[in-house]
């Protein structure tokens, strides 16, 4: 399926957030995920066309 990550189209094989994070090589310890302005948990089912925003946990320096 195709989803948007940080506004960019991306094809993914999996449909559960934790599996997608693993697939795109993003450590959940370093990012929170937002869909429709709400934080979502790792077991969330992601649908074709969903737009995900990755919030970097590390900030500043």
């Amino acid at each position: 399926m195709e989803i948007l990550i940080q506004g960019k189209k991306r094809k993914v094989k999996n449909s559960v957030l934790s599996e997608i994070m693993n697939e795109i090589n993003v450590n959940p310890e370093e990012f929170l995920v937002v869909r429709d302005n709400e934080l979502i948990t790792s077991d969330t089912k992601i649908n074709n066309g969903d737009s995900l925003e990755l919030l970097s946990i590390v900030s500043g320096g």
Binding site: N27, P28, E29, E30, L32, V34, E38, L39, I40, T41, S42, D43, T44, L55, S56, I57, V58, S59, G60, G61
Partner: protein, 308 residues
């Protein structure tokens, strides 16, 4: 995933606590745990005047917000401008807007005025890692500035991730003097020129502060320190996060282990006395070196006698 308290839809899972929370219960749990940590470790006294070191990042602003909410009239903010172009000027604007909105007394110091040169200038002339200079001067100015503001405590935004990283960094670098000074109330020396530092967020992960900040709709910084890539901390952070991903609770366990160790260490009374024979420092009347030397000479004398 359901909230561990109300069974509504969860917005965050905290694997190290084996819990998940909805928005409302996450905010409650976050604030309760910070307050409990502050009270358990007696970080704030009713007569304290607290100066919060604020960088404009999520940790320091969250801490400023909470301390000001719980201890109104006792809290001021202090920012140190290191002079990092295209970075610090943006975060200072966030701080200035925040303190104005919440009516918090505020002061700003700069490397340029307080030390004589900016961090950018230091980095052009010296070859060391920027963070090693920055940390030294930032602590120096925070302490000086807080003292001028008549503070009794300096609050810094170190979270659980920062603390676990610092413990590992000091072990990796054999920084034992720094190692024993850590903890929720840092510093081992009571001196009027040294303002002790408190860490209210020490038992909260960086991920949680980020989530709290997002839910509270606080203005988050999108700027990253240009020198961050040079920091040793950056590598340790990545290492710990990679490990935490498959081993929940690693960072919390590092901090817990440190606390158990340091508790025993600080309870131990080390009475230094001086050896009656050689006058070197020791823990008993005669030092171990002198005892062994005496044994050696005695055997030598006896051997000599046997031969004779």
């Amino acid at each position: 995933m359901k909230c561990s308290i109300c069974k509504e839809k969860a917005v965050i899972e905290l694997n190290y606590l084996k819990k998940a929370f909805c928005k409302e219960h996450f905010i409650d749990s976050f604030e309760e745990r910070v307050k409990k940590h502050v009270e358990k470790n007696k970080l704030v006294d009713k007569n304290d005047k607290i100066v919060v070191g604020v960088s404009g990042g999520k940790d320091s602003l969250t801490m400023l917000y909470l301390l000001n909410k719980w201890y109104p009239g006792q809290v001021s903010a202090l920012t140190v401008d290191e002079g990092i172009k295209n970075y610090r000027e943006h975060t200072i604007k966030i701080v200035e807007k925040f303190v104005k909105e919440w009516g918090i007394n505020y002061k700003k110091l700069s490397f340029k005025e307080g030390i004589g040169f900016s961090l950018d200038e230091i980095c052009k002339k010296l070859e060391g890692i920027p963070c090693s200079y920055c940390g030294v001067f930032r602590r120096y100015l925070l302490n000086k500035g807080a003292r001028e503001m008549k503070a009794t405590k300096i609050a810094i935004g170190h979270n659980l991730d920062d603390e676990a990283q610092s413990i590992m960094m000091n072990l990796f670098q054999h920084g034992l003097q720094r190692f024993v000074r850590m903890g929720p109330l840092s510093g081992v020396v009571d001196n009027e020129k040294f303002i002790r530092r408190i860490k209210p967020l020490r038992e909260i992960t960086e991920k949680e502060t980020r989530a709290y900040f997002f839910i509270k709709k606080f203005p988050h910084d999108i700027w990253e320190c240009p020198y961050m890539q040079f920091a040793f901390r950056h590598n340790i952070r990545k290492m710990l996060n990679d490990y935490e991903k498959d081993n929940s609770g690693t960072k919390a366990n590092i901090v817990k282990s440190y606390d158990s160790f340091i508790k025993k260490f600080k309870k131990t009374k080390y009475n230094i006395v001086f050896c009656e024979k050689c006058k070197e420092p020791t823990s008993s009347n005669i030092c171990r070196a002198c005892i062994i030397k005496e044994e050696f000479y005695e055997r030598t004398r006896n051997k000599g006698k046997t031969k004779n």
